[in-house]
Structure formats: C-alpha cells, structure tokens
Subunit: 330 residues, 2 copies
C-alpha cells in the first residue's frame, strides 16, 4: 500500500476517517432530504456518492456544469441549481440531463429563460439580506408567472450568506433569524413544500428551512472551524521543504493550490509568512532540511478544492483512494 509520504508534493488530500465522522454527525442532525448537500464545496462526485449513501439524495449545485456532472454520475434524483442563469445552452443541457432538475429564479428574465428551455421546476430565490434573489413582495407574482409558463413552483430558497460566516453565536443567530423571517414571509406568498437555505455556518441556528444547503461540513476549513461546530478539519495540502534560509523556510506549495480569499492557511508547528504562486514561506522552531514534509490546512475549502485535479484519500497515513475532482470548471 502506498504511504502518503511517498507521493510527490504538493498534493491535496482528505482524511477518510474525518470525512466519515463528519458525514455521520450531519446525517444524525439533518437526516435524509432535510439536508440538501451543496456540491460546490467539493465538486467531487465520489464525495457526493458518500453523501447519498448517508441518506442525502437531493443535492444543491452552484453551476450548470455541476448539475450536468451530477446527473452523469447517476446522482440526479433531485438536483437544485441554487443560482440564476439565462444561458439557453446551459439551461437546455440541464433540462436534457438524466435528472430531476429545479432551478432558482429571481426575475422575469430568469423565469422566461427556464421555461423556454424545458426546465420543469423552479424555486423562487428570495433576497434575505445577501446577493441574489427577488424582494419579498415580488415573490408571489414571480411564482404566478412561473406557474403560468407551465413550471412547477416547489417553494422558495434564500441564502443567509451574511450570517453563516459570523463567529459570534448570538449575532449569528440574530442574523439567521432576521433572514428567515423574510424567507417565511415570501414562502407565504409563493407556496410549495420547500423552504431551502442555510449552510454549515447556520447548522444550529436555522430552524426555519425544510432543507439545509450545507457543503463545507464534509471536510471543513480554518475559517468555519472557528465557529465551534462538531465537524473536524479533514482537508490538507501536503508540501515539502525545498529551501532553508537562516530566518525562514520555503515550501513547494503556494497559492495556486491554496485559496487565499479567507486569508493565509495554517500549518501545525509553523507560522505562515506569506504564500506566493508556487511557494509558502514559513518560520518554524523545528529543525528542517530539504525534503521534510509539512501539512498545510487550507483557510477555505471550496476554492481550494477547485484548484486541484485530484483528491488523495488517506487513512492512517496510507493512500486508500484517489478521487477525480470532476465537477470543476464551467
């Protein structure tokens, strides 16, 4: 069996034991289709298959590419594009996929585009304090327009993105509740069985939605880890020391394999000075020489995953599998 230490660096790897624990913890708290896992966090159908095996058979996608790829992998029982598009080619590809596809709409233009390309079901996306979505008082007439165009309106969605990253639990609960009050008001105007929203960050606080769109919980990151949820970090970039200067050490993994939008990654036993394209410069008390390994913990899971072609799966230091990160790109 190949050991992780035998692989050339840099490479992205997941701790399978942590993944399995996180999947089990979430499946207990939000069982079956009360969780609609967001595949944008991992973009990997092999992970989606484990989520499906944990009981979650309905999925959230961020891009048409993710929807079409999930369908091709046999995971098309109930796919939501939680995002707007008026692109005829992408809408048609989703409508033609071997899947039950629902798309988010928030305007007449997005409804008309979905209808003319054969999309059969929509959620009305509500602006609950963040980014996309229509105003609450527009929701009813948009639902009417979608129904008139022959589509099923399954309900509403609203993503409280301004709340899920809040570290203070009291403030976070307030923000979530404010957003969900709006979503509930819109749902009364729209109807349908589904109220969809939330993420790993509102795992505890969101008691409104009928389905939680959590993604990061599978392998976590340093940003989400600060919130004290019961999920553990299981995603790492393995790097090698390549150069040792008197005051610092240079590693062979840089920002082309680590997302920087949530700040620098962290390294147990070392301090990150900065990341460059293909290097991370660190200080450490350890005596290190070229070839020594360091394990980097990414600050943000989603865009770190999307920089890599493959995810090495490790258990107790051994390589147990290599998964294709197959839902990347557009």
């Amino acid at each position: 069996m190949t050991e992780l230490g035998e692989l050339s660096t840099p490479f992205l790897w997941a701790d399978e034991a942590v993944l399995d624990d996180n999947l089990a913890t979430m499946a207990e708290a939000w069982p079956r289709t009360s969780l609609r896992p967001h595949v944008k966090a991992h973009k990997t159908t092999a992970i989606a298959k484990r989520q499906a095996a944990s009981g979650h058979t309905a999925f959230t996608c961020a891009t048409p590419r993710e929807v079409v790829g999930m369908a091709a992998a046999g995971l098309g029982a109930d796919l939501l594009l939680a995002n707007e598009t008026v692109d005829d080619k992408n809408l048609r590809a989703m409508a033609d996929a071997d899947a039950a596809v629902t798309v988010a709409v928030d305007s007449e233009a997005t409804i008309d585009a979905a209808a003319r390309n054969g999309i059969e079901a929509v959620l009305i996306d509500i602006r609950v304090g963040f980014r996309c979505g229509c105003a609450v008082d527009e929701a009813g007439q948009l639902a009417d327009r979608a129904r008139t165009a022959g589509m099923e309106v399954r309900g509403v969605m609203g993503y409280e993105g301004h709340a899920v990253g809040e570290v203070d639990p009291v403030k976070r609960a307030e923000l979530v509740n404010g957003a969900m009050t709006r979503l509930t008001a819109a749902h009364e105007l729209v109807g349908g069985p589904i109220v969809s929203g939330g993420g790993t960050g509102s795992y505890v606080d969101n008691t409104t939605v009928t389905e939680l769109q959590a993604g990061s919980y599978v392998l976590m990151d340093t940003a989400y880890q600060q919130q004290g949820h019961p999920f553990r970090q299981g995603l790492f970039v393995e790097a090698s020391v390549i150069s040792v200067a008197p005051k610092y050490v240079v590693l062979d993994a840089g920002l082309k394999c680590l997302a920087m939008d949530h700040g620098n990654p962290t390294i147990p036993g070392a301090q990150v000075v900065y990341c460059a394209d293909e290097h991370t410069v660190v200080t450490t008390e350890r005596h290190v020489t070229p070839g020594d390994r360091m394990t980097i913990v990414p600050a943000h899971i989603d865009p770190t995953m999307s920089k890599h072609r493959e995810l090495v799966v490790g258990r107790d230091g051994s390589v147990v599998d290599v998964w294709d990160i197959d839902l990347r790109h557009w």
Copy 2:
C-alpha cells in the same frame, strides 16, 4: 465564425492582437535567448510556441510538471527549472524528458538529489533579497560540489522578487541594483556563462542579467499595468449579469475563476464590491438586465490562468482559437 458573445459565461479569453503586440515589443527589447520566458505566467504550450516563434527558444519553468510538459510539446531546447526540488521521481522525469534541462540548486541536498537522478546541468540559485537561494559566500563551494558530482554549472540565477512589484520607479531601480550586486558577486565565485533573473517588473532596470525571466508581459494584469511598461492588458474573464438588485448587480464569475492575491479585479464601467466563489457583486451606472455581458480584468495573471482549463483566443470580437492550458497542476 463564432463570436465571443455567443459563448456561455464565465470564460477566460485573450486578445490575440494584444498578445502579438506584447510579444513583438519584448522581442525587440530582449531579443532571442536574452529573454528566457517564464511559462508559469501562462502554463500554455500554445503561448510558449508563439514565444519561440518570436525568437525565445530557452524557457523558465516553475514546476517539474511544466518542464516535462514543455519537453513533450517539442519545446525542450533549453529548459530551466528555476526552483528547488529534492523529489527523486520529479527529478528523474525531467532527466528522462526529451529536453536539455537545467535545474536551480541552493543547498547540498538539492545538488545531491539532482546528481543522483541524472540531471546534467545546474544554476546556483542566489538569495538576492527574496525567498530561495544560498548566501553569496556559499555559492562557490556549492558550485564545486556540483562539478565534483559531474554536473555542468552554467552560472547563477537570482530572482529579485522584492523589487519587481515596486511601483515607484526610483525605488524599484535601487532594489534591482542592490539585488544584482549580490548576484554579480556570487557569479564571480561560481563562473559559467549564465546570469539569470528578473521579470516583467525589472524589464527596464535590470542591466545585469544575461537572460531575463519575464512571463507576465505576454498578457499583463492590473497589478503590473500600474508600472507603466509598454505592454498592454490582454487577458479577461467574460461574465454575465444574472441578478439585478436595487443597489447592485450580480455576475456569474467569481473567485474560482479570478485570482484574488493581488486584490479585486477591475471592470470597465463598473465598481467591484466583492468576489465570492462563483459571483462578483458590482455597482454600475449602466442600465443592465440578466444576460448582459461584462468584461473582467484580472488583478494577477499567473494564478488566474491556472484556474482555467482553456483560454479562448479572440480577435475583433471573434473566436479565432481555443488553447488548452496544459501545464497546470503538479
């Protein structure tokens, strides 16, 4: 002929006219092998072929993957890995490639690893104020060790990375000169015909090196553009409006397709509020509706290129080619 406006967004594209102009401008200033173009900026053998056609047949690479890929594309006349490694598998792959390969070394460990894996030529990498490299006074004995191990020592390299990003031209020239004084001192201890270093940022100021390792000049970015060099920006991410709120507009391209390490991208006619995974939120005076296009100018070329599978090549609004960004990953 397909128009750029017909392609589904988001996609990365290059303006071929700008590319050709930039190539011609550089080939006049640093002709033939006085330029050793850095392929890390674009990771695309199709662009490297244009650089070779402009007279530059020796290349700089950041990763073993780039070296092996350049060799496989028939561009192996003189490839420099301007980076340290002690990885046996990668060193052996480069030694076995159909190419003349030189690697940078800065320690006994990197020299010994190169020698035992069949690498035939090295440059001694000098720490000229930035990141990797040995101290000036270690350079001579490292060169001796490499020669004793049977390798050709072609000279020295030193990257003045602390200087190339400086916007103030007086300060930049001072930093470049200080770094090159060290490199010259090391070269006297090492010997060999090559003094390699620099980048697009020291295109004017570096009068020391026998070969300039510039990469970004091919398509530029907003960070380098501030320095007033004669190269123009020719790299863009095309995005569509997907949602219109009263005070802002949401685009379908986010930080998974735009590097954020040099700050936010810019958009002519709009102000970027923030980038999220798959969205950019902007304000604009323009009246826009879903489906309208916006052209995003990346802040940093290298890590933006490495997020994309393909580079669409445009001229006068038409698609003239699509190039595989084939040197990505590790």
